[in-house]
Assembly symmetry: C2
Homo-oligomer: 414 residues x 2
């Protein structure tokens, strides 16, 4: 059987004795940099557990060779897990990180610049005394593949990675803990609004509470604020979810279908929340920055027919008014991740020729950015992420703060 | 937000107060027949519960209009649920069935012959005293969409439909029960082999047991036998699954991740089994029909490199022997469903120019059959399904029995 799609692939490689590492590939992971063949970064803590012999601090740049199958691209090669450790044993050395390397060049999907921004899944099949540890990998090519992976392992926050199974005993502590601020957002039942104890709060309520819980950072620029809040909200939602789900799942189920339906509803609620909350965070930021809802922007107003872009500037009424100057209208779509789905926004508001798209996806490939530019889409990303983009594109990117200034200017003095 | 993919769509339409009806569209559903605009068949038992006013036995062909959104194809129209009931109140009348109708013509995806063979999902949003019952529908365009639907509602057996949630109180009894033979395949623990009580049996063991449990039909032709066994195996597996899973899920879970992982493993095991078991059923049939494994056929032998077609005839050794005449080689791929994935088989055995494909998918569109013919693929389907195919293609189809004769002839007298 030829393996060609990710559903079949997951069926084959999700099993006991396997460890998944899931990340979004960065430009650094995929591009040739500093004159040597780079490859994806994987944290030491994980690689040392997968390949204990790699942990040779007194040896310069120790490496271990193993087989890696890139099943999404029907490719196989021997690659190396390498520990660049000259910081430890060379005077003036600066590196102390582990990567996979030896992919051969840009004909490998892992070194293809178009793979930047894609979710990559590494399934390490742990060896025994007889067999070698090896790895099967998949680089997602479509948004729907990324959904399937995130349904499987959980939502991938910006600049984070996921190890799965998360409760694999040997893997605890491999990934960084949430920030102190985010940890404080995990609430006990006594800290939750009473109505939340009766039923799940709406995403809007969760976002509102997030703002309250992060008041300590209310002085940060909008771009930092929104990222910190996304992290906070993730923990806050996790606490609400556990409050509601744990009693049910601890109590058990009477039949298989109610068990499976409950699991589906959890997975689905996570996905819906992840998709919806970013828009609501953006709305909070607009309000905090002094934009007035209904006067300066409108959330989910109709443009044409049944189409409702996330934000219209200044309002749906102005948009519907043919006398309102077209060049003073703006539209912002908000998407946690972009992949192929960014094209959805192109027909969301016919009168706005230049559409803006805000995303917190930490990396987008050069090719995709170029496609967006050609489609007259203005990309808005958090300031801290701009450095991750290729220098030639940085000038074309707006921060959230830039975008807010942009709509203020469009609409002129009040 | 424009809805363009099925994951987003399911998130939006899977909720309380909604009833799903999932079927594979037949040629009858999609094609203009008998001079009037047809539309998908939906059983009376379901439509009468969704639209109680449709149940007017004394009125001729009663109908109820409602809104149907075909979200996969960005289409909306007012359609009718109609009860063709002339059998009840017209002398000589022969019809007594309910359908949806009023789609307007073949520009609707529901009347497009290319939709035949696709899984269609109808989500009925139940009305109240103030609101009308309406429907959102999705016609799957790719195999991966069908996987996502089947993960959600369960595996769709040939010529069956699924109502979900299956335990929706008002929906019990809407769909036909399994046959008596299949019901006997649901085993109690005392009827299972002792080793099955310790751990899940392999798919091969389940198929072997299925053969034993269906000995009463061992005299049926191969084509009927395999379909009856697929139904039996479904019930048999369900009994094994409940034996293993119920104690765990009744007992409950300590944390969310172990709960979700368990649910994933159930869904995944179902999918793997559904994909694998048909090959093993075919193997049993070959053996019963007197083909000898290793002499007449080989299961999962290597062709080239890592490629392993489901069946090579007469054997992998003959295939690897350049002196063995190419025209005496054959290959059979086995797939429960075909959709876009049938093309996988085209490069599974280079020396076999005409590939055969056995499927129990009950309907395949004319376009897809034509594509298969052009790719020199011989389609093998159970005899009872041949009538469902367009007359112009029936001559080109082989039954399983035909195919067995074909390979006997290829290989000449023993």
């Amino acid at each position: 059987m030829a393996v060609i799609d990710i559903v079949e692939w997951i069926d084959r490689w999700a099993g006991p004795g396997q460890v998944w590492y899931v990340k979004r590939l960065s430009h650094n992971d995929t591009q040739k940099t500093r004159g040597h063949q780079a490859g994806p970064y994987i944290p030491k803590e994980l690689l040392f557990r997968l390949f204990p012999n790699l942990n040779q601090p007194t040896q310069k740049n120790p490496r271990i060779e193993f087989s890696l199958y890139i099943d999404s691209h029907a490719d196989h090669r021997r690659v190396q897990a390498i520990w660049y450790n000259n910081k430890l044993n060379t005077s003036g050395g600066t590196r102390n990180e582990t990567r996979l390397t030896g992919f051969g060049g840009s004909e490998s999907a892992f070194l293809d610049p178009d793979s930047a921004g894609s979710i990559a899944v590494f399934v390490f099949c742990l060896g025994s005394s007889q067999t070698e540890t090896h790895c099967h990998a998949w680089i997602c090519r479509h948004g729907i593949e990324e959904d399937i992976v995130e349904d499987y392992v959980g939502v991938l926050l910006p600049k984070r990675a996921i190890v799965w199974p998360s409760h694999h005993p040997s893997m605890s502590g491999v990934l960084p803990q949430p920030t102190t601020l985010a940890q404080r957002c995990y609430l006990g039942p006594e800290e939750m609004p009473p109505s939340w104890l009766k039923h799940y709060p709406s995403t809007r309520e969760v976002v509102g509470k997030t703002v309250e819980l992060t008041s300590v950072i209310s002085g940060l620029p909008p771009d930092n604020r929104i990222l910190r809040r996304v992290e906070c909200e993730f923990e806050l939602f996790r606490s609400v979810e556990e409050f509601h789900e744990l009693p049910v799942i601890v109590g058990g189920f009477q039949n298989l279908e109610s068990f499976l339906d409950r699991a589906k509803s959890v997975t689905q609620r996570r996905r819906v929340r992840a998709g919806l909350s970013l828009e609501l965070h953006a709305r909070e930021i607009f309000l905090e920055e002094g934009l007035v809802e209904g006067r300066d922007f409108e959330y989910q107003a109709y443009s044409e027919g049944r189409k409702r872009p996330d934000f219209l500037f200044p309002s749906g009424t102005a948009y519907a008014n043919d006398a309102y100057p077209q060049q003073s209208l703006a539209m912002l779509a908000v998407k946690r991740t972009t992949k192929d789905r960014w094209r959805q926004i192109l027909n969301e508001a016919d009168r706005v020729t230049r559409k803006h798209l805000f995303t917190i996806q930490d990396t987008i490939s050069e090719t995709q950015i170029r496609e967006m530019i050609n489609a007259n889409v203005g990309l808005v990303v958090p300031r801290s992420m701009i450095d991750a983009y290729p220098p030639s594109f940085r000038d074309g990117l707006l921060t959230l703060e830039d975008f807010i200034s942009h709509v203020r200017v469009l609409q002129g003095p009040k």
